[in-house]
């Protein structure tokens, strides 16, 4: 009856995606939450842009990037949260031991979580980008091919951070859950979401450039303000992201081993 035990099975990945799809489908509060915060923030930044836009001068021009910056930040943040929440759902439901004694491999589990982060992000962000067009005339999709580069790079970073956070929760229990919600905010000032890197003190700038999203946000400003697509920045971000993803995957596996060593998997809780 039981057949394949291949080292990688798209079927097992599909099983995990289906499990989370069933969950999303069964819970309208979960679906609403995906749209609620992005929509609230989009309106706030949109009205701020309208307000500041009434003043003539350089400031008005600069703040025209706010909506784009917010939406890109939200991809980064929601991508990571989408990954981590899907993971946390397994912890909250005390289902993790069931998964860990099944043939599901860590790689398959992580791939399923990345797919779910895209699904959750899409459910939240697509309606919000439409609202941005309707209310503020800002067409996020007009960023075109650049948007695909921004999107891919930000998602890669979000998955790397998501793997690290999930590993921490697996190793240290739900007491580490708050990190899953807050860790990304550590990057908010350093990745220069709303201002150029040159604003930072010189000694922080190398640290900032080591964070893949920094190049994305700089690239976004180059596109929106100067109408220039900086492929060099996207390649830099992509290269960094490969390193970050490797580090994220390594940390997830290492923390899983730690969880097996500490017995955390049979003591699910705080």
């Amino acid at each position: 009856m039981t057949t394949h035990v291949a080292s990688f099975s798209p079927y097992r990945v599909g099983a995990m995606v289906l499990r989370h799809w069933y969950l999303l489908r069964s819970s309208w509060p979960r679906l609403l939450e995906l749209v609620y915060w992005p929509a609230v923030q989009m309106f706030m930044w949109g009205f701020l842009q309208l307000g500041v836009g009434k003043f003539p001068g350089a400031l008005a021009g600069t703040v025209s990037t706010f909506l784009a910056a917010f939406l890109l930040w939200d991809i980064l943040f929601r991508g990571q949260i989408g990954f981590a929440i899907s993971f946390l759902e397994e912890m909250w439901s005390r289902n993790m031991p069931n998964l860990m004694i099944s043939p599901l491999r860590p790689t398959e589990f992580v791939i399923a979580l990345t797919i779910m982060s895209v699904v959750r992000l899409s459910i939240g962000l697509i309606p919000v980008t439409i609202l941005a067009v309707v209310f503020f005339g800002f067409n996020f999709w007009s960023l075109g091919i650049a948007l695909a580069a921004f999107f891919a790079n930000l998602l890669m970073t979000s998955w790397a951070v998501g793997m690290f956070c999930s590993g921490l929760v697996m190793r240290h229990g739900l007491g580490a859950e708050s990190l899953a919600w807050s860790l990304m905010f550590f990057f908010l000032p350093l990745t220069c979401v709303y201002y150029p890197v040159s604003v930072l003190p010189e000694w922080i700038q190398p640290i900032s450039w080591a964070l893949p999203p920094t190049a994305v946000f700089e690239g976004m400003r180059a596109l929106v303000i100067d109408n220039v697509f900086r492929a060099d920045l996207m390649l830099w971000a992509f290269g960094l992201n490969l390193l970050w993803l490797s580090a994220g995957a390594f940390s997830f596996i290492w923390l899983l081993r730690g969880a097996k060593s500490s017995g955390s998997l049979i003591q699910i809780g705080e």
């Binding site: 039981t2 069964s26 031991p97 004694i101 043939p103």
Partner: protein, 256 residues
């Protein structure tokens, strides 16, 4: 008790298996073999090391020393060779509450690569009296129904090794008896190996071919229920358990 050719093969083999958590010793160098097709009970008080032993047997916990082989595979190094042949039911583990019983079984059927999933779910639902609950969220079931669903999940892949950690804890006597009957039928049908940790002496006495008595991380006695009763000169396993737990009476003949 079943005597089949399969019984000559060890389903589980532990060799000086040990687990430390910091300064605390949970399992202290236990060695035992579980014959394929048998039902073996792990009996011991709280903190005796039963759940940790089960954790290491299923690959959820890595040993600090020694090793555990399941169907010949070292569970710390190569668990994926055999995980498709194993399943677990434990009251400390749950299924996603918002998913219906059918959805849960579908997901785990896919994870275990069960090809005739619909038929398997229908069969398990029929055998475990779950048919009318199949489309109900797992979280909205009674304790007895949840236990039956957990057992259905544990049987979804027709495991060769079924690991049960207190399978009838907090169930009423009727439901508990019903579950035990089902486990007996499953073993008879599949010639499966069952490793059972329990505090319920009547359950152990009824189901197990062999009992490993654990205390402070060690196996302090080992034998079939009749052998243990005879060794301690007792009428039931509860009295034997108390003798071992309280060091009240030594066995007349030590376990070999």
């Amino acid at each position: 008790m079943q005597q089949t050719a399969a019984m000559t093969v060890a389903a589980i083999q532990t060799e000086k298996l040990a687990k430390r958590y910091g300064d605390s010793i949970a399992v202290d160098g236990v060695s035992f073999a579980v014959t394929a097709g048998s039902i073996t009970g792990l009996l011991g008080g709280n903190g005796a090391g039963k759940t940790t032993t089960i954790g290491m047997t299923t690959g959820l916990v890595s040993p600090s020393g020694g090793r555990v082989l399941v169907f010949g595979a070292d569970m710390a190094r190569e668990p994926y060779k055999v995980l498709h042949r194993i399943n677990l039911e434990s009251p400390y583990v749950d299924l996603p509450h918002r998913l219906t019983v059918r959805q849960n079984l579908t997901v785990f059927g896919m994870l275990y690569g069960v090809t005739d999933r619909r038929e398997q779910i229908a069969r398990l639902a029929s055998e475990l009296d779950l048919t009318e609950f199949l489309d109900r969220p797992a979280g909205k079931l009674s304790a007895g129904q949840k236990t039956r669903v957990a057992l259905a999940k544990a049987l979804i892949n027709d495991p060769d090794l079924l690991v049960l950690d207190e399978p009838t804890a907090s169930l009423d006597p009727d439901t508990a008896d019903w579950i035990r009957g089902h486990l007996e039928r499953y073993r008879a049908r599949k010639s499966a190996t069952i490793l059972l940790a329990s505090h319920n002496m009547a359950e152990v006495e009824r189901l197990c071919d062999r009992v490993l008595m654990m205390k402070k991380g060690q196996i302090v006695d080992d034998g079939s229920p009749p052998q243990l009763l005879s060794r301690y000169g007792r009428q039931n396993l509860e009295e034997v358990f108390l003798d071992v737990a309280r060091d009240r009476r030594k066995a007349k003949e030590p376990a070999s």
